[in-house]
């Protein structure tokens, strides 16, 4: 047993020591904890840590196999995402104890705060006292035992798992119901109480999911989409698309769902042109060797940056929305082109990890697939706040796509209609977010860049907060980003276009004097090197490609990703469809796509008279439409105006 005195050393050093002792098999005692945050975070060895006093936020978070004893009280997020192990708290716990745990036994001898066990997947949370409101909120699996009173709205929107209440069930949450407890469950709970020597004589009431929400009587009729040009532009107000929406909604009784990005032409980078004559493009033979494109992203606060051979990375797309084979192909291609790949929501597979040279691991509110081991083998961590396609809403994965393998990797029951929450349980404000970011850094030894992904909305405000929260870089996703499944109306009408997003971001950064050191990765509807270079001119530091990557790999843009029976084997988990996809062949196609992007970026940069992509700037662009001019503030030079015609003639 060694003693670590938090009055003497900071938590960061203490955690480093705890992990080292853990590897050596040495138990640890922490004195003078004084409710400091992040105590023990990231420990993955089977040792015991005794906190002699009270702990702050995220005590024992992101750990595996360890045993924690905390003598007094703990702050919120106790045992965040624990994989396995034991935590015993002598006093009370703050909000969201056992958030997102994937195993482990957590015992709180006093009372516990609100939303206990939110998005928990497995394991047991026991509270010997009373629970505050919404215990078991969005519970996916595992069990919560409350010996005292349940608190209000217990089991709100739970999907799986059980809640046993020994005291009063104050009121049931939405889609929760009381049911009978089996003998075996009764015995199991008793055994658990006996093991931790917790006396309790009373009886339990059992709460489970009522199965009313997220299940629909009449599924939406599957249609191949109506081409956009028949309903956007100047076509009639009650166009065929409007009528089809009405017909389908009047059958299903709910909003329509589909995959892919916007179905309406919005202001886009395409509405910009280059200000200079690009005739030099034609005399550039070996342009790639003439332009410096290597880009490091994420080194702002001392983490190891992502090292990109060009200012390009793969946008986050999940294994779940996409098939394993597709993620594999994208991983391989990203390595061949020496750029970074991203897991998207829902976990990291071994195949994906080994295929991608650099891999960002994305963390969402549902904490699906999130775990300390994969964090440690990632090259970057990303906190998803929202995405361009459906900002402000949670994810949706139809039951058809939730296979056994996928459920295992996400840590949830197979075959459920999976809806992930619209926000993180432990990020309710900018201040929480700072502590969350620090937790990730603690857990991974400050080695990895931590980024935030934002669907473009109130970009001016959001960017300033993200900068203040100390992220290493920002991924800004305009509303032209795509999704595997989302409300068609949200895809088309929520958020702002990518073109506007980067403008607002740049202005916000300028206002706070952080333009020079804040890195932005712009994504959402980026299709080629020309789009990319316009994004770079407007101030982005790198560009994310998503949909175009899967198109390069065979997607035909039928917009039926949500159905789960993708004809090309891309957006499916059905093995009979997935086998249609040939990862090795498609990896080559995707790689060639990225190499074309590289060539295009180099050729235009060179033609503009530069030898480094970092020289690109706003002055290189003009606006072709009044909208683009208004949105960007760039000079308006419509096609046909004198200066523009020169540009086009080149």
């Amino acid at each position: 047993m060694v003693t670590i005195d938090l009055a003497q050393i900071p938590v960061r050093d203490a955690n480093e020591q705890i992990r080292n002792y853990g590897e050596a098999g040495e138990d640890v005692e922490v004195i003078n904890p004084d409710a400091r945050h992040h105590i023990g975070v990231g420990l993955t060895s089977p040792i015991s840590v005794h906190v002699k006093g009270s702990a702050g936020y995220f005590c024992a978070g992101l750990t595996d196999q360890a045993t924690f004893y905390i003598d007094n009280n703990v702050g919120w997020g106790l045992g965040d995402n624990i994989y396995s192990g034991t935590v015993v708290v002598g006093g009370n716990a703050g909000a969201i104890p056992a958030i997102g745990i994937r195993g482990a036994e957590i015992i709180i001898k006093g009372n516990m705060g609100s939303r206990a066990g939110q998005v928990m997947k497995a394991g047991t949370l026991l509270c010997a006292g009373n629970a505050n409101f919404m215990a078991g909120y969005m519970l996916y699996g595992g069990r919560i035992i409350i010996l005292g009173d349940s608190g209000e709205r217990v089991g709100e929107d739970m999907t799986g798992g059980e809640i046993f209440v020994g005291g009063k069930v104050q009121d049931l949450g939405s889609d929760a119901k009381l049911t009978d407890m089996t003998e075996a469950e009764h015995d199991s709970v008793r055994e658990f109480l006996d093991r931790y020597e917790i006396p309790f004589k009373g009886n339990f009431q059992k709460i489970v999911n009522a199965g009313q929400k997220l299940r629909y009587g009449s599924p939406e009729r599957q249609m191949r989409s109506i081409p956009f040009f028949t309903f956007s532009g100047a076509s009639p107000y009650w166009n065929p698309k409007v009528q089809e929406d009405i017909h389908i909604k009047s059958q299903s009784g709910r909003y329509r769902i589909r995959g892919y990005g916007t179905a309406r032409a919005l202001p886009h980078l395409s509405d910009l042109a280059f200000a200079k004559d690009l005739s030099r493009i034609n005399d550039s033979a070996d342009v790639i060797s003439k332009v410096h494109m290597y880009t490091e992203i994420g080194g702002l606060n001392g983490a190891n940056p992502l090292k990109l051979s060009m200012p390009v990375m793969v946008s986050p797309m999940s294994y779940g929305a996409l098939s394993r084979s597709t993620k594999h192909a994208i991983g391989l291609a990203s390595a061949m082109s020496d750029i970074a790949e991203n897991t998207g929501e829902g976990g990291m597979s071994d195949a994906q990890r080994s295929a991608a040279k650099q891999l960002i691991f994305q963390c969402l509110g549902g904490r699906l697939g999130w775990n300390i081991h994969d964090m440690k083998r990632a090259d970057g961590l990303e906190i998803y706040i929202s995405q361009g396609a459906k900002p402000g809403l949670g994810g949706q994965l139809m039951a058809k796509k939730v296979t056994k393998e996928l459920a295992d990797i996400r840590g949830i029951p197979a075959g459920i209609d999976l809806r992930s929450p619209s926000r993180h349980p432990d990020i309710l404000g900018a201040d929480d977010l700072v502590i969350k970011v620090e937790e990730f850094r603690e857990a991974t030894g400050y080695r990895l860049p931590v980024s935030v992904k934002l669907g473009a909305g109130r970009v001016r405000d959001d960017i300033k907060i993200a900068v203040k929260d100390g992220f290493d870089f920002i991924e800004l996703d305009g509303m032209q980003g795509s999704t595997g499944a989302g409300s068609s109306e949200v895809i088309d009408f929520v958020g702002i276009p990518t073109l506007a997003a980067i403008i607002e971001a740049e202005e916000a950064l300028a206002e706070i004097g952080r333009r020079q050191d804040t890195q932005i990765v712009l994504m959402g509807g980026m299709r080629d090197g020309v789009d990319a270079i316009k994004g770079l001119c407007l101030g982005a530091d790198a560009i994310g490609f998503g949909t175009s990557v899967i198109i390069a790999g065979g997607c035909i843009a039928c917009m039926q990703c949500h159905v789960g029976q993708c004809v090309t084997g891309i957006a499916t988990q059905d093995p009979n469809h997935e086998k249609r996809y040939k990862p090795e062949i498609e990896a080559q196609n995707i790689h060639r796509f990225f190499e074309s992007v590289r060539w295009q970026i180099a050729a235009i940069t060179h033609a503009l008279g530069y030898d480094d992509v970092r020289q690109l700037n706003r002055g290189d662009l003009v606006a072709l439409t009044p909208e683009a001019a208004a949105i960007t503030g760039l000079p308006y030079r419509p096609v046909g105006s004198e200066s523009q015609s020169e540009v086009l003639a080149s």
Binding site: Y255, F274, S422, R458, G529
Partner: protein
């Protein structure tokens, strides 16, 4: 054209005399169409088949192909390997679909005749696919055409090279008859051979131009010792005998040397002839390299033919009564000039195959003594320049296998089209026409709405193989049934067409596909690609685009809104109007005052279930909630919970004391000019509701169908109230153009408490849009109509709530103008909502 070569990126212009749609938006020729040498609009005919519009399908099929009946059975179908579905679960069976249509209409269709309109004439030597297609194109261009054919039948290799079990004679007649009907000025002179019966000079005198399509009629030698034995025959010669009607007795074992289509036909013919029990195909490369079409290969295997791959003949020896074909085994070496890996003999692998006959199908060549004598021949074909299709004689052109070596029927047809093009320009005195390019058309057929399209496997017609009496050469397979044809047609990806994606349009997807198929070192392709990408797209906001709710977006809650309503998975939608009138949700309904009674009843029932008040001059039912629209002729009814006076027709003094207790009173205003008066009256008399009618006339049935609503009423009413600082004193309700919950949420966000839906509910209830009105003639029953109305209102409430949740609200009415942004200037101007980005609307002046 290879499907993904540079021409796909920068497609050269098609000559202007052809219909070509590649310059139009929203269309890119699909890979199958590009792979087709004659540019058949396969996606359109496939889609027409699914729609069961067979005549239109027939038109699309035959537009560029006078031998569609033949091609439906025996085309090499390069479209199918190019089909994108090939890589998934097998190509769309494009050829079988063509056959289905041709079997249906090919024999009976009578095309319009194209008369001779020009003075010049063209003489064509050879009535094969190249010659006859050229004849077709030149005839339809108005020239008099004479074709000179050495055999006794027109059709060339289509007749003499393909056995009847694959191509029954009646099918050939169908196409030839149709050709004659269409081209009355076309004469085919049979039994007239060049050199023997007619000289080139005579042709040149008789005609203004001559086209030589002499074919590759003669088999090439294998080049091995012993092949002079009379039991060694050439493949095309063998097929010619059989197609002439002979059914020779064959030895027990026959070896066919070669792996092309002639070899496939020869081996399958042999298998059907008397006494032949065993047929072996010897091919020098492996099964992956064999050039035979997969389906012919499979047919041969299914018929019991043995294949020896990686085996090369080295000699033929007489062996008593039989023959011995000496062979070696091969490995694949380096690629040769045509890109295929060269077979390399394996030392010590010599072996013999015993047989009674060897059929050498190792290639064909053209021969003609007269042309040879005139110095116009290369070793095996007429010396021809591909760029112009000319021979060394300025008046003489050449095409087809006899000019460019053995190929496929459809490629020969392409040659015929090219030659016709250059001959036509030559005759018109234009020596330097635009280079020929296959034109590509689209008929813009909608995508098949078959729900099974992703699941349906390849549909194969029934295969008969040898049949009961092989020597009769019965046809090997059946045509599709209607059911299988429709299923197969549903499988088409429609690579030519737009899907619903705006940013990934068909053109954009093809660019990405091309990028993914560009060698990074191919500078020419990279340059071509870049010049395409630099082209300017059409402005998505055309000058005449009106302000639209579509061009307003919601700003989602992200970091800046985290603390607002943290548990926002639910949303409150009920509220109160005026002096305490509760409404369960903000969606009211109007428009059914004069619809058929069964529709009124059904809608009334639906509205009761979802608790939506009806807004109209009459109630929909005795016990439903009703907001009464008053006209001068109608007094307020005690049954209405709200009475609304017309702003156009306001009484001197609205009885602000209210005629019935608990009843709310308001004004509806349809004319923007009346807004100030209505606002002033509403405030002065302390009324509850101001119903703003953006349709121009809420009392006219389906007035919303006239177009986009006029939002200036809302903008002006709010501006007035704000100016007076009395926004809280009267509730605004909006009518006009609300199509969805999203539209509703936007209007609520702009400052209204409820919206009235008319046309949308009418469509749900079975109304069809006709002449700016709704017509109810569908066969929905009352329950269906009620359910549809209930579902649509529920769905729209759900949508509106979702928009609130996206903006971080858990109460629908908390959406504010500040949560909205405009994405077009005209919408920004008309609604007062700032545009996204810099918010610099001063650019408006530029418009």
């Amino acid at each position: 054209m290879a499907v993904y070569d540079i021409n796909r990126i920068l497609m050269p212009d098609a000559p202007s005399e052809y219909v070509d749609d590649t310059g139009q938006g929203h269309y890119v020729p699909a890979p199958c169409q590009v792979a087709c040498p004659v540019g058949t609009d396969a996606p359109s005919y496939i889609a027409y088949i699914w729609e069961q519009k067979f005549e239109q399908a027939f038109e699309a099929i035959t537009a560029t192909n006078p031998f569609s009946s033949i091609c439906g059975r025996v085309c090499d179908a390069p479209c199918e390997p190019a089909c994108r579905r090939t890589d998934s679960d097998g190509p769309v069976q494009i050829r079988n679909l063509k056959r289905y249509v041709m079997d249906k209409l090919g024999a009976t269709w009578t095309p319009d005749a194209c008369p001779v309109t020009r003075k010049q004439s063209v003489g064509i030597v050879g009535a094969g696919p190249a010659g006859l297609v050229a004849a077709h194109d030149l005839s339809t261009a108005g020239f008099k055409v004479d074709v000179y054919e050495m055999s006794d039948r027109p059709g060339g290799m289509m007749v003499w090279g393909i056995p009847a079990f694959r191509l029954p004679p009646g099918i050939i007649d169908e196409d030839i008859d149709r050709l004659h009907q269409k081209c009355p000025g076309l004469d085919i002179h049979l039994n007239t051979a060049l050199g023997r019966d007619i000289k080139l000079n005579e042709l040149k005198e008789r005609h203004d131009a001559v086209l030589l399509c002499i074919g590759a009629w003669w088999g090439k030698a294998m080049g091995v010792p012993g092949e002079q034995d009379e039991r060694v025959v050439d493949g095309v010669g063998f097929l010619r005998r059989v197609n002439a009607g002979e059914r020779p007795q064959l030895p027990h074992t026959v070896v066919v040397v070669g792996g092309g289509d002639v070899a496939m036909d020869a081996c399958r013919v042999a298998k059907r002839l008397p006494d032949c029990e065993h047929v072996i195909v010897v091919y020098r490369r492996g099964p992956k390299e064999i050039p035979a079409r997969a389906i012919e290969l499979k047919g041969a295997v299914d018929e019991g033919i043995e294949f020896l791959y990686n085996t090369q003949q080295v000699a033929v020896e007489a062996n008593g009564k039989g023959l011995s074909l000496k062979c070696v085994r091969t490995d694949l070496g380096e690629p040769d000039e045509d890109g295929r890996r060269r077979p390399v003999p394996i030392a010590g692998s010599e072996h013999s195959i015993g047989c009674g006959m060897v059929i050498a199908a190792v290639g064909q060549q053209g021969e003609n003594d007269e042309l040879d004598h005139l110095g116009m021949m290369l070793k095996d074909r007429v010396k021809t320049e591909w760029e112009t299709m000319r021979t060394k004689d300025p008046k003489v052109f050449a095409a087809g296998d006899g000019a460019f070596g053995g190929s496929t029927i459809v490629m020969a047809m392409h040659h015929g089209q090219r030659a016709a093009y250059y001959i036509k320009h030559y005759l018109e005195g234009n020596d330097h026409p635009l280079p020929y390019r296959t034109p590509y058309r689209t008929r813009r057929v909608p995508v098949a709405q078959d729900l099974q399209w992703e699941l349906l496997p390849e549909q194969h017609p029934k295969f008969f193989g040898l049949g009961d009496n092989p020597i009769q050469f019965p046809e090997i397979e059946e045509t599709y049934s209607r059911e299988t044809a429709l299923k197969e047609a549903a499988r088409c990806y429609r690579c030519d067409a737009e899907t619903g994606s705006a940013d990934y349009s068909v053109q954009q997807r093809e660019h990405i596909f091309s990028m993914a198929r560009t060698n990074p070192l191919d500078a020419a392709k990279n340059h071509a690609m870049l010049s395409c990408l630099l082209e300017v797209r059409e402005n998505p906001v055309p000058d005449n685009k009106p302000a639209s709710l579509d061009d307003i977006v919601f700003l989602p809650a992200n970091l800046s809104r985290l603390v607002i309503d943290p548990y926002r998975e639910a949303c409150k939608v009920d509220t109160e109007v005026g002096r305490g009138l509760p409404i369960s949700h903000p969606l009211l309904v109007t428009g059914f005052d004069s619809t058929p009674v069964e529709v009124r009843q059904a809608v009334a029932e639906g509205l009761k279930v979802v608790d939506s008040p009806y807004v109209g001059q009459q109630p929909l039912s005795d016990d439903g909630r009703w907001w009464q629209l008053l006209t001068r002729a109608t007094p307020p009814s005690h049954k209405a919970e709200v009475v609304l006076y017309s702003a156009h027709d306001l009484p001197a003094s609205i009885n602000a004391a209210r005629p019935y207790s608990g009843q709310l009173v308001g004004i509806y205003v349809s004319d923007p000019m009346d807004v100030p008066k209505a606002v002033q009256n509403g405030l002065d008399q302390a009324l509850d509701v101001l119903l703003l009618d953006g349709s121009g006339s809420i009392t006219t049935p389906w007035a919303e169908l006239k177009g986009a609503p006029d939002f200036s009423l809302l903008r002006d009413a709010i501006a007035l109230l704000r100016k007076l600082d009395r926004e809280e004193e009267i509730d605004l309700v909006w009518f006009g153009g609300i199509r969805s919950g999203t539209d509703a949420a936007k209007i609520l966000g702009l400052g209204t408490v409820a919206v009235v839906q008319g046309t949308a509910i009418g469509i749900a209830a079975g109304g069809e849009i006709q002449n700016e009105s709704l017509v109810f003639n569908s066969d929905l029953n009352e329950d269906d109509r009620s359910t549809a109305v209930i579902n649509l209102i529920k769905a729209n409430i759900g949508e509106a709530s979702m928009m609130a949740r996206c903006t971080g609200k858990t109460v629908l009415y908390n959406i504010e103008p500040e949560d909205l942004r405009a994405i077009t200037l005209v919408t920004s101007k008309l609604t007062g909502i700032p545009i996204v980005g810099t918010g610099n609307s001063s650019v408006t002046e530029l418009i």
